[in-house]
C-alpha cells in the first residue's frame, strides 16, 4: 500500500487524514455511488496538487493512458477503487488483435495497413461495426500499429503463435499475450490478460506513474456546473478507519477509464430495460463496471453517443452461460479455487462440454422457453423475455428472471461433472434432489421471485422426455433429441445469461476528449476504455488504443 510522500502530496496517509478530518463516514467504497457527489462544486482547496493528469481506473485503458502521459512528460496519478491494479483486463484472454503492419505481423509475413484495418472495421455487413462512428474508427485504425509497438516497448510479450484473422477480416492480426506469472495473487485468476496488464503496470511504475488503490472516483470538479474547464476530481480513499473524501487537482486533465456500465442495473437499463438485477456481469466479483465515468461526466455536460451499439444484437454484450451452477459463469472466465477472489466468486461452475445436449433449460416458472442448443441472440432474447417475470413479483414485466439448467445423474456421467463444491455454489446457485418435483421446491435464490411449482417442472420434464421418445421437439425445434432427464438424483444449476461488453458510452472525439451535447470538447476531460462510446469493438484493442491516445493528449493539454 502506498504511503510515501511525494511532490504532489498524494501519499495515502495524507489523504486519509484529510478525509477523516472532514468527517467523512465509514462507508465502503463498494457501497458508494457516484450520485453521492454528482454535482461536485468547484473547490478552492485541494488535498493534493501538483498532478498533471489524474486517471480514474487502473485497467488496460487507464494504465496505457498513464504510460503515454508519463512518456509525454506529465506527472500522473492513477486512482483505482479495487485493492489491486489490473481492472477488467487482467482477467481477459490477453488477445490483442491490433494490425496495420505491426512488427509481429511482419515477422509472420502478414501484409497489412491502417487503411485495411479501417476498411475491415467499417464494413456495414458486420452489425458490430455498422453503427460505429467513422471518425473514431479512422484514428483507431491509424493508431493500431503504434499501439502494438507501444505494448512491446512496455514489456508485453506475445506467444509465438501464428496470428489469427478475426472480426470478419482475412488479415491475421490477433496475437495472444504470454502469461507473465504463475502466482494467482498477481494474476488474480491466471488469465492471459495478466500478460498484458502486469508488464504495463510494472512499466508504468518504473516510469514514475503513481497509483492509489482503494480510491474511488466520486466527482469531477469543473469551473462551473456545465461549463468551463475540468479542474480535478473528488474521490474516496478507503483506509482502516473508513472512507475519506479527497480532492485532487489535475492541472492538465482528468482521464476517465473506470470501465463500462454493465454492473449498474439502472444505467444498463437505459439501453435495454430487460437487463434487470438478475443478470451478473463478466469480471465480477473482481471488477465492477459501475458507469462511474459516464454518470459523472454526464453530470457536468458530457453525453452518450452511438448508443445503438449496445443493442445491435451483435458482438457479445450478452452471453450464454457456459459454467453453470455458479453465480459468475462467463464462458472464458472460470474462477480458479486458488484465486484470491474465489471466496467472493463462490464456485467455478460445471463447464458444459457437449453443446447443451445433456440438459434442458427452464425459466423460474419451471417452463422450457427455447431450444437449449441455440446460442444465438434468439436464445438470449428468449431468456430475457418477460414471460417469467410477468407471472411473478407483482406482475413485473421486465427481465426474464432466473434461468435454470435441469439435468439428471446420467447427464452428470456423460459430462464427467463433479456436482459438489467448489465446482458448484450451494448458496442459491445449485440444487439437487431425489425427484424432479422435489427439485423445484428446493430452488431458492435472491432472484427467484416466486417458488417454482413442482408439478410444473414435472410436467416440463415429462413433456421433454416424450419429445425424446418421439424424436421431435414441436415446441422449440430442438434438433437431435438424445437423452431424457429421468435418472435420479436431479439437479438445477444457475444458467442465467451473463452480461459482458459495454459497447456504448461517452461521446469522445479523436483526441479522446469528452464532448457535450453541442459536440464541443469539455476542456480537461478525457475518456477511454469501455466508458467511451462510438465504436463497438470488443476487447483489448479498443481500450488500449484509446487509452494511449487519451494519455498522450491529456499530457500536452493547455492548462
Amino acid at each position: 500500500m502506498c504511503a510515501k510522500r511525494n511532490d504532489s502530496g498524494i501519499g495515502r496517509r495524507e489523504f486519509i487524514k484529510k478525509g477523516a478530518a472532514a468527517g467523512v463516514g465509514a462507508a465502503t467504497l463498494a457501497r458508494l455511488t457516484t450520485s453521492d457527489a454528482l454535482a461536485a462544486p468547484p473547490v478552492l482547496k485541494w488535498d493534493a496538487t501538483g498532478v498533471d493528469v489524474v486517471i480514474a481506473g487502473a485497467g488496460a485503458s487507464g494504465v496505457s493512458a498513464a504510460i503515454a502521459a508519463r512518456d509525454a512528460g506529465a506527472r500522473v496519478l492513477v486512482i483505482e477503487e479495487n485493492y489491486k491494479k489490473g481492472g477488467h483486463a487482467i482477467l481477459s484472454g490477453g488477445r490483442v488483435p491490433l494490425g496495420g503492419g505491426t512488427s509481429l505481423q511482419k515477422k509472420y509475413g502478414v501484409t497489412d495497413s491502417a487503411d485495411q484495418v479501417y476498411a475491415d472495421h467499417t464494413n456495414f455487413k458486420n452489425p458490430e461495426f455498422r453503427y460505429a462512428d467513422r471518425e473514431l474508427v479512422r484514428v483507431w485504425a491509424d493508431e493500431n500499429a503504434p499501439t502494438f509497438e507501444f505494448l512491446l516497448a512496455n514489456g508485453v510479450r506475445f506467444r509465438e503463435d501464428l496470428p489469427q484473422a478475426v472480426n470478419g477480416s482475412d488479415v491475421p492480426r490477433m496475437f495472444r499475450a504470454a502469461l507473465s506469472s504463475n502466482d494467482l495473487k498477481e494474476t488474480i485468476n491466471g488469465s492471459d490478460g495478466s500478460g498484458v496488464m502486469l508488464p504495463l503496470i510494472a512499466s508504468a511504475e518504473a516510469k514514475g506513474v503513481e497509483f492509489l488503490t482503494h480510491c474511488k472516483l466520486t466527482g469531477i470538479v469543473r469551473e462551473r456546473p456545465t461549463s468551463g474547464r475540468v479542474l480535478g476530481v473528488v474521490a474516496y480513499v478507503q483506509g482502516l478507519e473508513g472512507a475519506s473524501e479527497v480532492r485532487i487537482q489535475a492541472k492538465r486533465g482528468v482521464i476517465l477509464a473506470t470501465g463500462g456500465h454493465t454492473s449498474n442495473v439502472e444505467f444498463r437499463r437505459m439501453f435495454d430495460p430487460r437487463l434487470t438485477e438478475e443478470y451478473q456481469t463478466t469480471g465480477e466479483p473482481w471488477s465492477h463496471q459501475n458507469a462511474d465515468s459516464e454518470i459523472l461526466a454526464m453530470a457536468i455536460g458530457g453525453v452518450l453517443w452511438a448508443t445503438a451499439n449496445q443493442t445491435s444484437e451483435s458482438g457479445v454484450p450478452i452471453t450464454k452461460t457456459r459454467h453453470i451452477g455458479c453465480r459468475y459463469g462467463y464462458q472464458n472466465l472460470k474462477w480458479n479455487p486458488q484465486s484470491p477472489m474465489f471466496k467472493q466468486a463462490g464456485a467455478s461452475g460445471l463447464t458444459v462440454r457437449r453443446d447443451f445436449q445433456d440438459l434442458i433449460m427452464v425459466n423460474q416458472l419451471g417452463q422450457r422457453f427455447w431450444n437449449e442448443l441455440d446460442d444465438s441472440y434468439r436464445f438470449l432474447n428468449a431468456c430475457l423475455s418477460g414471460t417469467a417475470g410477468a407471472h411473478s413479483n407483482g406482475g413485473k414485466l421486465n427481465g426474464g428472471g432466473p434461468i435454470w439448467a435441469i439435468f439428471d445423474a446420467d447427464a452428470v456421467k456423460r459430462e464427467q461433472w463433479d456436482p459438489t463444491p467448489p465446482n458448484v455454489d450451494l448458496n442459491g446457485w445449485f440444487f439437487s434432489a431425489d425427484t424432479v418435483g422435489e427439485l423445484a421446491g428446493k430452488i431458492v435464490n435472491p432472484y427467484q421471485t416466486s417458488p417454482m411449482s413442482g408439478r410444473a417442472l414435472e410436467e416440463t420434464v415429462a413433456k421433454y422426455n416424450s419429445y425424446v421418445d418421439a424424436g421431435k421437439d414441436p415446441d422449440f425445434g430442438r434438433p437431435m433429441l438424445l437423452h431424457k432427464v429421468e435418472k435420479p438424483p436431479f439437479y438445477a444449476a444457475w444458467s442465467t445469461p451473463i452480461l459482458h461488453d459495454t459497447l456504448s458510452g461517452l461521446r469522445i472525439n479523436s483526441k479522446c476528449q469528452v464532448l457535450d451535447l453541442q459536440g464541443k470538447a469539455i476542456p480537461g476531460l478525457y475518456c477511454c476504455g469501455e466508458a467511451a462510446g462510438r465504436f463497438a469493438l470488443h476487447g483489448l484493442p479498443r481500450v488500449l488504443v484509446f487509452g494511449r491516445i487519451a494519455g498522450r493528449e491529456a499530457a500536452v493539454a493547455k492548462t
Binding site: D355, D434, T435, G454, A462, M480
Partner: protein, 221 residues
C-alpha cells in the same frame, strides 16, 4: 343440559388429529425402455421420496396405462437409491404392450392406510412416456469414418427412428423392424449428419462424418 365437553371428541382422538403430520411425496421413473418392443415384458424403475426424507420402504407403487388402468404394482425396497438422500425404489415388471406408438403412462405412490398413523404420506403420481415398436427383424450396422482422414469415429451418438445407439470402434448397430427411418448422427465438433434409411433386410450404412468448421472465437474476455 349436558356439559359442553360431552359433545367433543374424546381427548385422545382430538390429540391424534391435531398432531397428525402430512408429508408430501414425489416420484421418479427411470430406465424406461424406449423404444419398447411390443408383446415383450420389460422392467422400469420407480422411486418415491418423502419431503421429510422418511423411510418409505415397503410402500406400494403402481403403473397405470393411458386409460388409468393399473397394470403393475410393486413394493419399495428397503434401501434408498445410491446417490440420493432417501429415494426408495422398486423395479416394476412392465406388462406386455400391444400397440405401437407413443404411450403416455404414469406411476403412482400408494401410501399405506393412514388412519392410525401420526405421519401421513400423501399419494403422488408422475407421468412418463415411452415408444413401442414392432419386434426387430433386421440388423442395421452403421460404419462411421471421419471424412478428412477415413479413421473410424467413436462416441458418435445416433438415432435411427426411435432407436438410439453410440458408436464404438466406429461402428453402431441397431435391431429394427422393416421400415424407413431417419438416421441422425451427432458428435461434438462435427456436423450433424442425417440421412433416410430404408430397411428391408440386414443393412450396412457407411457414413462420413465431417468436422464442423472452426468458428471464429467471438469471446475474448
Amino acid at each position: 343440559m349436558a356439559p359442553r365437553h360431552s359433545n367433543a371428541l374424546p381427548e385422545e382422538a382430538a390429540l391424534a388429529t391435531y398432531e397428525r403430520l402430512e408429508h408430501t411425496t414425489s416420484i421418479a421413473v427411470w430406465d424406461v425402455p424406449s423404444p419398447l418392443v411390443i408383446q415383450r415384458r420389460s422392467n422400469v424403475k420407480v422411486g418415491v421420496s418423502c419431503s421429510e426424507k422418511c423411510c418409505l420402504a415397503g410402500g406400494s407403487v403402481a403403473i397405470l396405462d393411458e386409460t388409468g388402468l393399473r397394470v403393475a404394482t410393486a413394493h419399495l425396497g428397503s434401501v434408498g437409491l445410491a446417490g440420493t438422500k432417501a429415494l426408495y425404489w422398486a423395479e416394476v415388471e412392465f406388462p406386455e404392450v400391444i400397440a405401437e406408438g407413443l404411450h403416455n403412462w404414469s406411476a403412482e405412490y400408494l401410501p399405506p392406510d393412514a388412519s392410525l398413523r401420526a405421519v401421513v404420506h400423501r399419494p403422488s403420481s408422475f407421468r412418463f412416456t415411452f415408444r413401442a415398436v414392432r419386434p426387430p427383424e433386421h440388423r442395421v450396422t452403421v460404419r462411421i469414418v471421419e471424412e478428412q482422414t477415413g479413421n473410424p469415429v467413436d462416441d458418435v451418438e445416433l438415432r435411427l427412428g426411435a432407436h438410439r445407439a453410440r458408436s464404438a470402434n466406429g461402428i453402431a448397430t441397431f435391431e429394427v423392424a422393416a421400415g424407413t427411418f431417419e438416421l441422425c448422427l451427432w458428435k461434438i465438433g462435427h456436423n450433424v449428419a442425417s440421412i433416410s434409411v430404408e430397411v428391408k433386410g440386414n443393412l450396412t450404412v457407411d457414413v462420413e462424418l465431417s468436422k464442423a468448421p472452426a468458428i471464429e472465437e467471438p469471446y475474448w474476455m
